[in-house]
Amino acid sequence: MASLILSPAEQDFIIRGVEKGFRGDGRGSLDRREVTLRTGMISQANGSARCRIGSLGVGTDILVGVKAEVNTWAAGEPEECGTIVCNVECSPSAAQEFEGRGADEINVELTQLLDRIVGGEQSGLDLRKLCIIPRQAYWVLHIDALVLDVKGGVADALVWATRAALLATKLPRVVVESVTDDSGVARAEFDVVDDAEDQMGLEGARDLPLAATFNQIGRRYVVDASEQEEAVTQAKLTVAVSPKMEICAIQKGGMLKGFAPSLLSEITQTALRIAKEEFARFDALFAEASKHNGELDEEPSTGSTFLEPF
């Protein structure tokens, strides 16, 4: 990640602080920074959201667009399912080293992480509902994330933004009818209804997980590490938990050390414990973001929320 250089004294300060339960910005070890959420800023996407995690307006900033496309079924693909394709791109505005091909490695890492969390059945989304006609046509949901700024906790912000974007996603209605051709053979055909009013949300989007990343610093761990804390992190574990309190995905990242197995079980327990609070927080933010959009819809706006302070 963005290379932040800390002096040994500062590193020591952070590590000892965390071990005593104090953090540089006054948070408790399981507290998340301020989260800002907006939805619906990209009118050409089926769903979009922007999420920033960080206090005082400075933080990790991610924009996610969801685009649905109809794909023709090909042999070898699942017969009665739609698919989800994730793609994460880090902008050079987040760090200079992301210029050119510099972000390739981190892009792949984050794409894989997101795919592990929302790419399949574990996400709670009903993939069978994305099938239009079995063995013929299905929906592909392209989740494209643009990382605009990195100030610690990218994985969490990515999952929060993706959940919001998928919850805001509306698919056009599809009419399937049986057509008999000249030779008398009946086959199914479909028609995508082109009406902005006649759209529906994704089945199972409410069951999408949220993720929390636990960073081991010294002998303790903290949730939602800041940029400075990430620089002294020994190991980190991202845990995605669904609203049904099931663990959907776990990924260990981080560089220096391994986890003690005892710490692993402690962390997963903690993740389940704080999940309820996280979902309540997300729901409140999402409701506010949606309300925001309702007001904008009254005038024929292009649906921008970039023009307002964020």
């Binding site: 050409q44 900033d61 969801v66 970039f306």
Partner: protein, 245 residues
């Protein structure tokens, strides 16, 4: 080839504008926190986000110029920006072309001589695409550079114009731009002295009509200049309010 009716008998274009009308422009400076300067700019349904960093030490020492600053532009089209999803590779010629035009334009506008041995980075994201990519990129970059406090000779304001059915039309949208028969002229001017910073035309146009089309495009640039100026004033006032509190 059957041609889509681009101007109705009533003289209205596909999106309901008259021939000499610009699309609606809204913009805002300082939208990203960590960038030295940033801007969000939308013209109709085309939306652009720009981050400017610098002047800072060049990432690569060999890029440093002893007598002036180097300008680096990276342009990126978000995969969800077009009506059909498309992911472009970093080496896509279209991307490189736009970034090189933006770079050339601003090399003339920024006072590079006062920032020797340094680099100014302009990162452009096209979030939504509905025609006029180059013009919106230049306008947004101007606003972001002003927001970053980088010394420039003047604003650079860009606008497109075309020619349909014997009428010059201003600010082409995607449908008009993709029609093969419509000439597409992009011009960027420095409004104070009216110098042309960039001029590009696609397709063909009779030489006797060029002047009319140019004139219309320059009118558009002047209008955009007023819009950008307002946005700079709003940003400055915002900053002043924050300082006084």
């Amino acid at each position: 080839m059957s041609r889509q009716e681009l101007i109705s008998p009533e003289g209205l274009r596909v999106d309901g504008r008259r021939a000499n009308e610009l699309r609606r422009i809204s913009c805002r400076a300082s939208v990203l926190n960590s960038a030295d300067g940033s801007a969000y700019y939308e013209q109709g349904n085309t939306k652009v986000l720009v981050a400017v960093y610098g002047p800072r030490e060049p990432r690569n020492r060999s890029l440093a110029q002893q007598d002036h600053a180097t300008i680096n532009v990276e342009f990126n089209i978000a995969p969800f920006s077009t009506s059909e999803r498309r992911k472009r590779s970093k080496g896509d010629k279209r991307l490189l072309e736009i970034s090189s035009f933006v770079k050339q334009t601003f090399e003339g506008a920024i006072q590079t001589a006062i920032y020797p041995r340094s680099q100014i980075d302009i990162y452009i994201h096209l979030l939504q695409h509905d025609g006029g990519t180059l013009e919106t990129c230049i306008n947004a970059a101007t606003l972001a550079l002003v927001d970053a406090g980088i010394s420039m000779m003047d604003y650079v304001c860009a606008c497109t114009a075309g020619f349909i059915d014997e009428t010059p039309i201003l600010d082409l949208n995607f449908v008009e731009e993709s029609s093969i028969e419509v000439p597409n002229l992009t011009v960027a001017i420095m409004p104070r002295n009216g110098n042309i910073a960039l001029l590009q035309m696609e397709s063909k146009l009779h030489s006797s009509k060029l002047e009319d089309v140019m004139e219309l495009a320059v009118e558009g640039c002047k209008h955009i200049h007023r819009k950008l100026d307002q946005a700079v004033l709003v940003a400055a006032k915002d900053l002043a309010d924050k300082l006084s509190n």
